[in-house]
């Protein structure tokens, strides 16, 4: 692809600001090595003005969480006619809202752990607290409580008993007025990244159904996150304190790998993702079943992030990965002026 002017959108006001700044810096370096004219923009009140001033051909979205992953920035970019990488507003909204994504998966017959959701307003104004016992009875303990739209470990709470549930809910409500209450699946933590591309799938990859333009989503090798200590109840530390190592490709039976990749491709298509996404799954220790937890439309791009690790295992270097993600902007762009030269 010929050299372009690329604005890397990063930072912002999300709780994942720091991770985003690192993802953005890495993407920026790669884009420069690819020969593009790159400008990094820390997203804030000046965003539209800066975009008008810089006039980029394309925006590379390296924002995580609020604004960047929930469709806000995508909507804005469409309004001012700047092509951008990754999923469109609707897919962003579907994936970022964990509750909505779960309902859609349930409707699409994708296996996802049993759940309910509750809004703070329903507790305050509709007496929803009285329904919690029913929720507990339906789901059983332990339960995981997650803010509906928080991408990081912040606010993810674990409740072993009914007594622990209020604390978990109040903690999660600190981050979002809507929370997901989900049955806890004990097992292995897997992630499958999906990348749009052309031609044959890379080694270890699984190709989805091709689209009209000849491209098809490809599921990359499975990554397993292995907690260093077998404390399943300490949910937060499991994700926070450097207690996890990653194995890629995950050591799984061939059918399990294939099934995880197929599920990821199905979810990717179901939720309408574009360009790239990462689907998180659990391999049930008791039943051996795979459960889909959630989908991230702007996966991390730091040194230790899962997407670059998975791509690397498939022989796709970081620069090539970034080039592919960048190409996703053109494929969607409808205006002829924005098409590649």
């Amino acid at each position: 692809m010929s050299a372009r002017k690329v604005a890397v959108l990063k930072g912002g006001r999300s709780l994942e600001r720091n991770v985003s700044l690192r993802s953005g810096a890495h993407a920026q370096e790669a884009l420069e090595r690819l020969g593009h004219d790159v400008v990094g923009l820390d997203v804030g009140p000046e965003l539209v003005a800066r975009l008008r001033e810089e006039r980029p051909d394309v925006a590379f979205i390296a924002l995580h969480g609020r604004d960047g992953e929930d469709g806000t920035v995508q909507t804005l970019l469409e309004a001012i006619g700047v092509p951008y990488t990754g999923s469109g507003p609707a897919a962003c909204m579907r994936c970022t809202d964990k509750v909505l994504a779960k309902y859609l998966m349930r409707e699409g017959n994708i296996p996802t752990p049993e759940f309910h959701s509750v809004r703070e307003a329903a507790i305050k104004e509709l007496g929803a607290a009285d329904a919690l016992l029913d929720v507990e009875a339906a789901l059983g303990f332990p339960l995981v409580v997650k803010p509906a739209s928080q991408g990081s470990a912040l606010g993810v709470k674990f409740a072993r008993t009914g007594e622990e549930l209020p604390r978990a809910l109040v903690g999660a409500f600190s981050y979002d007025s809507k929370v997901l209450i989900e049955r806890y699946v004990k097992g292995r933590d897997l992630a499958v990244s999906v990348l749009d591309g052309e031609g044959q799938p890379p080694p270890g990859g699984e190709r989805g159904a091709p689209r009209a333009d000849g491209t098809a989503p490809v599921a990359l090798p499975v990554v397993e996150a292995v907690p260093r200590e077998e404390d399943f109840y300490d949910y937060e530390s499991r994700y926070e304190i450097g207690m996890t190592t990653f194995v890629c490709p995950a050591e799984l039976e061939a059918e399990t790998t294939a099934r995880a990749q197929q599920l990821a491709l199905q979810v990717y298509t179901l939720l309408g993702c574009h360009g790239v996404a990462r689907v998180d799954l659990m391999l049930d220790r008791d039943s051996g079943e795979l459960w889909v937890l959630e989908t991230n439309v702007v996966p991390g791009m730091t040194e230790t992030s899962l997407l670059p690790q998975a791509a690397d295992a498939a022989g796709i270097g970081f620069d090539e990965l970034i080039a592919r993600v960048l190409a996703s902007a053109w494929r969607r762009a409808p205006a002829p002026a924005a098409a590649p030269a």
């Binding site: 305050k124 990081s152 470990a153 209020p166 304190i241 996890t244 992030s305 670059p308 690790q309």
Partner: protein, 486 residues
């Protein structure tokens, strides 16, 4: 650089791949794994915004220093000591700065031998150098609970295990300390040093009583243990009588008319003058001092002569009545901070009310507030941030990153009265929201569930000490945090 890291003939030229990036990870020292920033710290970094009232910092109010005086002193240093200011200085510090230190120590009622002083780059460097000199991976440090949040990463970086001892209104209970020392001894472990902030403790806001000070020195002498006495705020006392430093008590007990045997004293100009000058010091027994000096040679050769000469010039200033100018400035700071403390205490009564208990410090910069044990202040900070106010969640003061989860540290010194009131009011509002939600969820009234027994600072006194011991996990491999790093 990238080329040299990449394997030859891999067909990917000089472009680093994720795999190659991971190779850097393999080059990092094991200690970097205990240097990880937690999600809580990441979130705190996000509160550093202009539109947020920050009660989180450890800041004195440097806007109170007269600009003309600063300009005059700097010009004086520039004009009169050009070559010296621009040159390297001795590792132990310049004599002119040591004189100032001896003067401050005298104001603390503590006589020191200038030959037992080392000038450091801020008080923080003393903590680092003491660890560097004393701590091998897995060694034990005994500290207060809660402890200075800024010492937590330093202890972690040296792969120390830290036993934290819950304080009460009189500071660290020495009987608890002895029990901990006994159980460590029974396990064949000997702590290297006891870390304490006896005056207006950061973050607890409490002061160690005189009997406990005496007993602590006795215990240290009986067991031949070093004590690191961190005393940044001793001169910022707003009420009550000053208590003797541990250093002076130990020197007295040694009975030679000289310095202390087992107490390493940490002082700083940060709170009585300016943290920007990065000037601190240690007073230590000579064998320890030598190791600190060697450590400092490796760290930064010497403390900036520019700032040492600046402080020396400042200490020459006299006010109209011929009194030392720096003493007058400290008095003005005390008046200012005393008022701000009172403003905050009043705001806490008004806005936290029954929903919390808090310490009433006789000096220093911080109040430690403890809420209903169901409230996690790390989560509360997420809410508070939306309301434009920040504090330090209690977990930052615990090595395990878990205890102290319903407490918070509030700084009253660095922000004007109005912002203190507004900030505390905003935090009070989010606390009430959370308590109200608890009330709705558990069928009790929010107020009632927030009511706590008065008196006594710091939560979790019932936690057995053994649970507070053990901490970083030095032997871990790998690194990445999943959700945080995505």
């Amino acid at each position: 650089m990238h080329g040299s890291m990449s394997g030859a003939g891999d067909g990917r030229g000089t472009r680093p791949t994720a795999h190659e990036l991971a190779r850097y990870e393999a080059l990092f020292a094991a200690r970097t794994r205990s240097m990880k920033s937690s999600a809580m710290r990441e979130m705190m970094a996000l509160t550093a915004r202009a539109d947020v009232i920050s009660l989180a910092g450890g800041l004195p109010d440097t806007s109170t220093f007269a600009p003309e005086l600063y300009a005059k002193l700097m010009s004086q240093v520039a004009a009169e000591s050009t070559a010296r200011a621009l040159q390297y200085g001795p590792t132990e510090g310049m004599a002119a700065a040591v004189e100032c230190i001896v003067e401050v120590m005298a104001a603390e009622q503590t006589r020191v031998d200038p030959g037992e002083v080392i000038v450091t780059t801020g008080g923080q460097q003393v903590i680092d150098l003491v660890c560097k000199a004393l701590i091998d991976p897995g060694d034990v440090i005994v500290a207060e609970a809660p402890t200075y949040p800024g010492a937590v990463p330093t202890f972690g970086a040296y792969q120390a295990e830290v036993a934290q001892i819950e304080m009460d209104a009189d500071g660290m209970p020495i009987d608890e300390l002895e029990r901990t020392l006994d159980s460590l001894q029974a396990a064949g472990r000997r702590p290297k040093f006891i870390y304490t902030i006896p005056n207006f403790q950061n973050p607890g806001g409490v002061t160690m009583s005189l009997p406990r000070r005496r007993r602590l020195v006795e215990v240290a002498r009986e067991r031949e243990l070093l004590v690191l006495e961190d005393n940044p705020y001793g001169l910022l006392r707003y009420e009550g009588e000053p208590l003797p430093t541990l250093y002076s008590l130990d020197a007295q007990a040694a009975g030679r008319g000289g310095g202390a045997d087992l107490v390493i004293y940490l002082g700083t100009f940060s709170k009585i003058l300016s943290p920007g000058v990065r000037l601190g010091w240690a007073v230590a027994p000579r064998p320890v001092l030598e190791k600190l000096n060697l450590g400092k040679q490796g760290a930064d050769l010497c403390t900036s002569p520019v700032t040492q000469l600046f402080v020396a010039a400042y200490f020459q200033e006299r006010d109209v009545s011929g009194e030392a100018g720096w003493r007058g400035y400290v008095e003005r700071l005390k008046d200012l901070y005393r008022r701000r403390r009172d403003v905050m205490l009043q705001a806490l009564t008004e806005h936290f009310g029954d929903a919390a208990r808090w310490t009433e410090p006789q000096g220093g910069l911080f109040i430690w507030a403890t809420l209903d044990e169901r409230i996690d202040t790390t989560d509360l900070l997420a809410l508070a941030r939306k309301s434009g106010v920040a504090f330090v969640p209690g977990r930052a003061a615990y090595m395990n990153g878990r205890s102290g989860s319903s407490s918070m540290r509030l700084n009253f010194a660095g922000v004007p009265d109005e912002e203190i009131r507004e900030g505390v009011g905003r935090i009070g509002k989010v606390i009430r929201e959370q308590l109200g939600l608890f009330g709705t969820l558990t069928g009790s009234s929010g107020q009632a569930s927030g009511r706590l027994p008065a008196a006594e600072p710091a939560g979790e006194q019932s936690t057995p000490l053994a649970d507070v011991v053990a901490l970083p996990r030095p032997k871990q491999e790998g690194s990445a945090r999943r959700r945080l790093d995505r």
